[in-house]
C-alpha cells in the first residue's frame, strides 16, 4: 500500500468514482422538442398482457397499442371500432362479432377471429391466474376452466380444470365469431369495451395456450401505435405510429409513457415542462395547480365512487334509523371542498353519475346533511355509544375519515374514531371473519359503463366487493332481470327499481364521486381524460 500519500489515493479513487458515475448514463438523445410526439406520465403498469391488466396504468398503455372491438360515445353508449358489427340474438345470449376486414397487427399478421378466441381462452383459463379473468365469467363454459385447491392450504395441489377452452367461443370464419353467454345479458357489448377483450397475435404464443417468453416486454398489438424497443420497467415505454394504420389515425406521431413512482415528482416535471400530460394531480399539489398551470389545469368526470359500508353482521347497525342517522350526520359538501379541495363531488346516489340510468339525488333525505334529524333518529333508535370507521392506512384516507368522524361526533353527540388498518387486505380479512371493525371505508371504479357494474359487485348478495354482507333477494332479482332484459332501456328501468330498494335499505352511505384533475404542458392541446382516467389518444395534438 502506498503509505506515503493516502489522500492522493483517496483523491484518485474519488476522481475515478465520479468519472464512473458520470459516464455510466447519458446518451439519451433529446429530439422531442421539435418532433410531433408527447410525453404522458403514468405509474409502472402491473402487467401488459391484456387479460392480466386491471389497473389504469396498464390500460392507458394498452389503449395506444391496441384497437378495441367497441368504444364509447359521449353518452357512454357502445360504438363498434375494430368490429364491423356486433349483433345479439333475440334472447341476448348468442352474440355474433364481425370484424372489419384488412386490419393487421403491427408485425404484419392479419387480425382474425382466432386471435380473439385464443387470447380470451388464455385469459379465462384458471391456472394462468390472469387478473381480468372474471370478465369472461359470463361466457358459457367459464366454470370448466377453473379449479380450486381441495384442501385450501394443505399439501394437495388443485386439480387441472376440466377444459382448456371456453365452449361459448365459436369461430365462424376468419372475420366472424360467436360468443355464447351462460345467461342472457343485454349489456354484453359494453363489457367488451374493456382492455381484457383485445386480441393477441400468433407471435404471442410459444405453443397453444402458452405465452412466448418475453412477449409481455415487447408486446405486439393491433392498434395505432407500436412499441419501440422494449418495456423499460420503472422508466418508460416509447410507442410510435404504425404506418398505414387502417383505423382512426391519431394526430401525434408517438407517445413516451414516462413512468413515475410518485405523483408529486410527476407534478414537478409537469411544471418544469418535462412531461406533457399528468392525468391525476395529487391532492398535495392541487392548491397550487391553478396558479402553476392556469387554464391548463382541468377537471372532468370519472367513475370513482366512495362510500362507507354498514356491516350487516354487526347488531348495532341493524336498525335502519341508525344507518340513516349516520348518513345524515355527514356533511359531504364540507368534506369534498375542504379535504379534497373540490376534486371530488358529494355523492347523492348509489351509482356514479357517469353511467346511463343515473338519477340525481336518489338517496334523497338520507344523504342530505341534517344534524337535527340525525340526532332525533339516532336517539330514538338508541344507536351505539361509540362508532368506529375502519380504513386502509396506505390509501390516503385518514384525513377524510377523521373529518367524517368529527362530523358524526358533532352531529350525534357520540364518540367516533377512525381506525386505520395497515393494508386493504388486513381490512378484508377482518371483515370476512366478521370481527367488529365498525363501518368500512370502501370505493369502486367501474369496469364498463353500465349501472349493473355498480349494483352487481357492490350490493348483490354474491357481489365480489360486497364486504358488508348486504343481501336482499328482491334487489338481486331486479338486477338479474335487468341484465336479462330485451333492450338497454328496459334494463335501466329494472336497475333503477333496484336502486330504489337500496334507498330504503341504506346498506352503505354514499360519500363522494371522483373527478379527474389533470394538467398539461404548453406543448400540447386538446387534452381529454376519460372516465377511466385515460388520455384520449386520438384527440391530443402538439401545438405548433
Amino acid at each position: 500500500m502506498p503509505g506515503k500519500a493516502p489522500w492522493k489515493m483517496v483523491a484518485g479513487a474519488a476522481a475515478i468514482a465520479l468519472l464512473a458515475a458520470g459516464c455510466g448514463g447519458g446518451g439519451s438523445d433529446d429530439t422531442s422538442a421539435t418532433s410531433n410526439t408527447v410525453v404522458i406520465g403514468i405509474g409502472e403498469p402491473q402487467h401488459l398482457i391484456p387479460t392480466n391488466s386491471t389497473e389504469t396504468n396498464g390500460a392507458e398503455v394498452l389503449a395506444s397499442l391496441f384497437y378495441p372491438l367497441v368504444d364509447f360515445d359521449a353518452q357512454n353508449k357502445p360504438i363498434t371500432v375494430a368490429a364491423e358489427s356486433i349483433t345479439p340474438d333475440a334472447a341476448n345470449t348468442v352474440w355474433t362479432v364481425k370484424l372489419k376486414p384488412g386490419f393487421t397487427f403491427s408485425n404484419g399478421e392479419p387480425v382474425t377471429s382466432d386471435n380473439y378466441i385464443n387470447a380470451w381462452n388464455y385469459g379465462a383459463y384458471g391456472p394462468n391466474a390472469q387478473g381480468a379473468s372474471y370478465f369472461f365469467d359470463k361466457i358459457a363454459g367459464y366454470a370448466d376452466l377453473q379449479s380450486t385447491d381441495p384442501d385450501e392450504d394443505g399439501p394437495k395441489k388443485a386439480p387441472e380444470p376440466k377444459a382448456k377452452t371456453l365452449s361459448g367461443l365459436k369461430k365462424v370464419d376468419d372475420t366472424t365469431f360467436t360468443i355464447t353467454l351462460s345467461a342472457p345479458f343485454t349489456g354484453w357489448e359494453s363489457v367488451m369495451g374493456y382492455s381484457a377483450f383485445y386480441p393477441l397475435p400468433k407471435a404471442a404464443w410459444k405453443s397453444e395456450g402458452v405465452l412466448a417468453d418475453g412477449f409481455e416486454d415487447a408486446i405486439i398489438g393491433n392498434g395505432p401505435f407500436k412499441l419501440k424497443g422494449k418495456w423499460e420497467h420503472d422508466s418508460q415505454l416509447v410507442v410510435e405510429k404504425v404506418a398505414d394504420f387502417k383505423g382512426t389515425v391519431p394526430k401525434v406521431d408517438g407517445i413516451t409513457w414516462k413512468i413515475y413512482q410518485d405523483q408529486q415528482a410527476e407534478y414537478a416535471d409537469l411544471v418544469a415542462g418535462n412531461v406533457d400530460v399528468q392525468t391525476t394531480i395529487p391532492i398535495e399539489s392541487l392548491s397550487k395547480a391553478s396558479a402553476d398551470l392556469g387554464d391548463r389545469f382541468k377537471k372532468s368526470p370519472n367513475s370513482g365512487f366512495g362510500f362507507i359500508g354498514f356491516p350487516q353482521y354487526l347488531p348495532e347497525y341493524k336498525d335502519l334509523r341508525v344507518r340513516q342517522a349516520i348518513s345524515m350526520a355527514i356533511n359531504r359538501e364540507e368534506i369534498t371542498n375542504q379535504i379534497f379541495l373540490g376534486s371530488r363531488t358529494p355523492a347523492t346516489s348509489f351509482v356514479s353519475p357517469v353511467v346511463a340510468g343515473y338519477r340525481e339525488n336518489t338517496c334523497g333525505e338520507n344523504c342530505t346533511y341534517n344534524p337535527t334529524k340525525a340526532k332525533e333518529l339516532y336517539t330514538a333508535a338508541n344507536g351505539p355509544k361509540e362508532i368506529k370507521i375502519t380504513y386502509n392506512a396506505d390509501g390516503n384516507h385518514k384525513a377524510w375519515i377523521d373529518a367524517t368522524c368529527n362530523q358524526i361526533k358533532a352531529s350525534l353527540g357520540v364518540n367516533c374514531v377512525g381506525n386505520g388498518e395497515p393494508k386493504f387486505a388486513d381490512l378484508l380479512t377482518k371483515a370476512e371473519k366478521h370481527e367488529n371493525i365498525g363501518l368500512i371505508r370502501l370505493g369502486w371504479v367501474m369496469d364498463y359503463p353500465l349501472m349493473e357494474n355498480y349494483l352487481g359487485p357492490l350490493y348483490s348478495t354474491t357481489g365480489s366487493s360486497n364486504y358488508y354482507g348486504y343481501s336482499n333477494p328482491a334487489f338481486d332479482k331486479l338486477v338479474a332481470d335487468g341484465s336479462k332484459a330485451a333492450t338497454t332501456d328496459d334494463a335501466i328501468k329494472q336497475w333503477q327499481a333496484a336502486e330504489d330498494i337500496l334507498v330504503k335499505d341504506m346498506p352503505v352511505a354514499p360519500i363522494y364521486t371522483q373527478q379527474n384533475v389533470y394538467g398539461y404542458s404548453q406543448k400540447v392541446n386538446n387534452v381529454e381524460v376519460d372516465l377511466q382516467i385515460k388520455v384520449n389518444l386520438y384527440k391530443i395534438e402538439v401545438v405548433n
Binding site: V10, Q261, Q264, A265, A268, D269, N274, N392, A425, S465
Partner: protein, 308 residues
C-alpha cells in the same frame, strides 16, 4: 495481510447466511396476504388465488420456502418477484443507478466535510467555525423527508438550476441534486468528526516537533495532522453507507429514480418477500465489503496498524 483478508471473507459467508435467514424470517412473519396486496383493492377470484399461491409456494412452511430460496441463490437464481419479473433483471436495472448516486453522494460528502472540517479546526472559534456549526446543526435537525422535496422545490422547480427528476439512465447532471440531498444527511457528522480530530491533533507533540523542524504550516496540516485525523472519518464514511441506502428510499422516491431504494420500498409495500430478500442480500454483501475496505484503509493511514 493476505491471511487476514481470507479470514474476513470466510466470516462474511457466515454473516451473509445469518443475515438472509433473519431477513427471510422477518419478511415471512410480515407476510399476510401478498396476493391481495398485489391487486390493491380489487377482488381476487378464487381460482387466481389458488394458482398464484401454488406458483409462488406461498402455502409452504417457512423452512421449505427458505430452502427453495437458498437453492435458488446458490445456483445464481434469485427467483421471481410476485409481479412475475425475474429478480435478477430487476436488480441489474436498479443497482447501477443507485451505485452511481451513492458514489457521487459519498464523494461530495467526503470532499466537503473533510475540507470544511479541517478549515474550521484551524480557525477554531472563528466566524467560519461558528457558522458551519450552526449550519450542520440545522442539517442534522432536518430529516431527509423534508430536505429532499424542499431542495427539489427550490433548486429544481423555482430556480430551475437542476432537473427536478431523474430517470434510470440519468446523466451526472440529473443525479447531482439527489446526490447533494443524500450527502446532506452525512455531511454534518463527518464534518464535526473531522473538525474534532484535527483540532485535537493540532495540539499533539509531533505537530510542535514538525513546526520546530521548520516545515511549512500547510505541509504540517495536510500531511501530518490530516492523515492522523482521518481514521475516525473513514470509519464513519463506511458506516454512513448504510445511512445513504436508507436515505435512498426517500430520495429515489422524490426524484423518481428507479433504483434500489425504490424497489425496496415497493417490495415491502406489496409484501413481495423474494424481492425484499434479494435486494437486501446484495446490500448485506456490499456492506460487508465496504467495511473490509475501511479496515484495510486503517493500515494505509496508520502504519502502526498491522493485520496478521
Amino acid at each position: 495481510m493476505f491471511r487476514y483478508i481470507v479470514r474476513r471473507l470466510l466470516q462474511m459467508v457466515l454473516t451473509f447466511f445469518g443475515a438472509t435467514f433473519l431477513l427471510f424470517a422477518l419478511v415471512f412473519a410480515n407476510q399476510k396476504d401478498p396476493i391481495q396486496a398485489l391487486v390493491g383493492e380489487r377482488p381476487v377470484t378464487e381460482s387466481q388465488r389458488t394458482f398464484l399461491t401454488e406458483r409462488y409456494h406461498l402455502d409452504d412452511g417457512f423452512f421449505t420456502q427458505y430452502w427453495y430460496y437458498l437453492k435458488g441463490v446458490l445456483t445464481g437464481d434469485f427467483g421471481t418477484s410476485l409481479t412475475g419479473r425475474k429478480i435478477v433483471d430487476m436488480m441489474s436495472d436498479a443497482w447501477p443507478v443507485t451505485l452511481r448516486l451513492a458514489l457521487i453522494a459519498i464523494v461530495i460528502a467526503a470532499t466537503f466535510s473533510v475540507s470544511a472540517g479541517v478549515y474550521s479546526a484551524i480557525k477554531r472559534g472563528g466566524i467560519f467555525d461558528n457558522v458551519s456549526l450552526l449550519l450542520t446543526l440545522v442539517l442534522l435537525a432536518m430529516p431527509i423527508v423534508v430536505i429532499a422535496p424542499l431542495f427539489q422545490l427550490i433548486f429544481g422547480i423555482q430556480l430551475g438550476w437542476f432537473p427536478p427528476t431523474a430517470t434510470r439512465d440519468a446523466t451526472f447532471w440529473q443525479l447531482l441534486l439527489p446526490a447533494i440531498v443524500l450527502a446532506c444527511i452525512v455531511i454534518a457528522p463527518e464534518m464535526r468528526v473531522t473538525r474534532t480530530a484535527v483540532a485535537e491533533n493540532l495540539r499533539a507533540d509531533y505537530v510542535r516537533t514538525a513546526r520546530a523542524k521548520g516545515l511549512t504550516r500547510m505541509r504540517v496540516i495536510w500531511v501530518h495532522v490530516l492523515r492522523n485525523s482521518l481514521i475516525p472519518v473513514v470509519t464513519l464514511i463506511g458506516v454512513d453507507l448504510g445511512g445513504l441506502m436508507a436515505g435512498a428510499i426517500v430520495t429515489e422516491h422524490v426524484f423518481n429514480i428507479p433504483g434500489v431504494g425504490f424497489n425496496l420500498a415497493r417490495a415491502i409495500r406489496t409484501e413481495d418477500g423474494p424481492l425484499v430478500v434479494g435486494f437486501v442480500s446484495i446490500l448485506v454483501i456490499l456492506f460487508l465489503f465496504i467495511n473490509l475496505l475501511v479496515d484495510l484503509m486503517y493500515a494505509a493511514l496508520d502504519p502502526r496498524i498491522r493485520y496478521e
